[in-house]
């Protein structure tokens, strides 16, 4: 019995709008490919692509300075790659950033931290170590958590992660 199901990309895009996201700063993620396709064509939310996740976090912070409400869209591997900017920019800088992180390869029968795949298994414990709050989207019913994450990021002046449990449909 799977614990998680795919979220249709249009529903996820609506959730981004509901959360007040103005810009998505992204490094391409196989897991969220269908959402990226929608974002690239979206007339309202600006899609900004970077070459590394480090850049994505710093760029999003600069957008906040300029009055925008960006979201960082990356994959778990990119989260591991960007830990120093997550710490040095988002956490130490006190930036209210939401990170949408794809758990590519996640076994839907298990909670992420019980997966065999190390990229999935260590994702939540890493953020626990960094004291970054995180939530999991394991299906369309979880989508309101995205706006809640944005409110929490603003309230705590710091990053909040939203994991995408299954590949978007």
């Amino acid at each position: 019995m799977p614990l998680a199901e795919s979220i249709p990309a249009p529903a996820l895009l609506d959730a981004l709008r509901a959360a007040g996201v103005t810009d998505v700063v992204a490094v391409p993620d196989t897991h969220q490919r269908t959402l990226i396709e929608l974002l690239q064509a979206d007339p309202d939310i600006r899609f900004i692509q970077t070459t590394t996740e480090d850049e994505a976090i710093a760029l999003a912070a600069g957008l906040v300075v300029g009055g925008r409400r960006p979201l960082v869209q990356i994959q778990h591997a990119g989260m591991y790659a960007s830990v120093n900017n997550l710490r040095g920019v988002a956490i130490d800088g006190g930036f209210p950033l939401v990170l949408l992180i794809g758990l590519l390869g996640r076994d839907p029968r298990k909670p992420p931290r019980e997966n065999f795949d190390s990229m999935v298994r260590y994702a939540e414990p890493l953020l626990d170590a960094l004291e970054v709050p995180h939530v999991l989207l394991d299906g369309p019913a979880d989508l309101p958590r995205l706006a809640e994450a944005a409110r929490l990021a603003a309230a705590r002046s710091g990053p909040v992660a939203v994991f995408v449990g299954m590949t978007t449909a």
């Binding site: 970077t50 850049e55 710093a58 999003a60 600069g62 957008l63 009055g67 925008r68 040095g88 006190g94």
Partner: protein
């Protein structure tokens, strides 16, 4: 490419920039940070401390949020080398009033002046030009940089000025441990910049 034999002082390079300081948002980092802030710091200064290589991405975000505001980056060569892909991102995003100054002293100044890999061969202006910056120029003396700067500031698109500078020998000093949890310098500065831009 052959090694440049002529270099300007960091001070003279910053003097040329400071003379033009007005309403720009400036992101500075590493060796240039403290002398720049002493010389020309305003409430529109952001700092890149503790995330080496991130200055230009932070500034690009400001530039994309506020295209009406000129953004200057005062970067280091070792810093930029850590996030070289940012040149591609900046070129693609094509901010219209974006001056990216790279202080190319050829060493990791604060950590003991260890040489950069490929020092003497690498050209940051060459890399930026190949990435698609609107203009990318190397200067080896402050007079030529000063003479060209006004025209560079009129370019519509990202500009990289690679300044061949002397190492300062300013070693990094570790502060004594604080007794209370300090507020990191970026957290102190960005809300001020945000208010200035609002």
């Amino acid at each position: 490419m052959t090694a440049s034999t002529s270099r300007m002082s960091l001070d003279s390079a910053l003097t040329a920039l400071a003379r033009r300081r007005a309403e720009q948002v400036v992101v500075s980092t590493m060796t240039a940070l403290a002398p720049w802030r002493e010389r020309a710091g305003t409430d529109r200064d952001l700092v890149c401390v503790g995330f080496m290589g991130g200055a230009s991405s932070l500034g690009l975000g400001v530039a994309l949020a506020r295209p009406d505001v000129p953004v200057w980056i005062i970067d280091g060569d070792g810093s930029l080398a850590m996030q070289l892909g940012s040149l591609i991102t900046i070129a693609h995003a094509a901010p219209r009033r974006f001056l990216h100054v790279v202080m190319h002293n050829g060493v990791y100044d604060t950590s003991g002046a260890q040489p950069l890999p490929a020092e003497g061969a690498v050209s940051f202006a060459g890399l930026a030009g190949a990435a698609g910056y609107a203009r990318a120029v190397r200067f080896d003396n402050a007079e030529s940089f000063d003479a060209a700067l006004d025209e560079l500031l009129e370019v519509d698109g990202p500009v990289l000025a690679e300044l061949m500078t002397e190492a300062t020998g300013a070693a990094y000093r570790v502060n004594p441990p604080p007794d209370a949890k300090p507020t990191p310098v970026l957290a102190q500065t960005w809300p001020r910049v945000a208010r200035a831009l609002a």
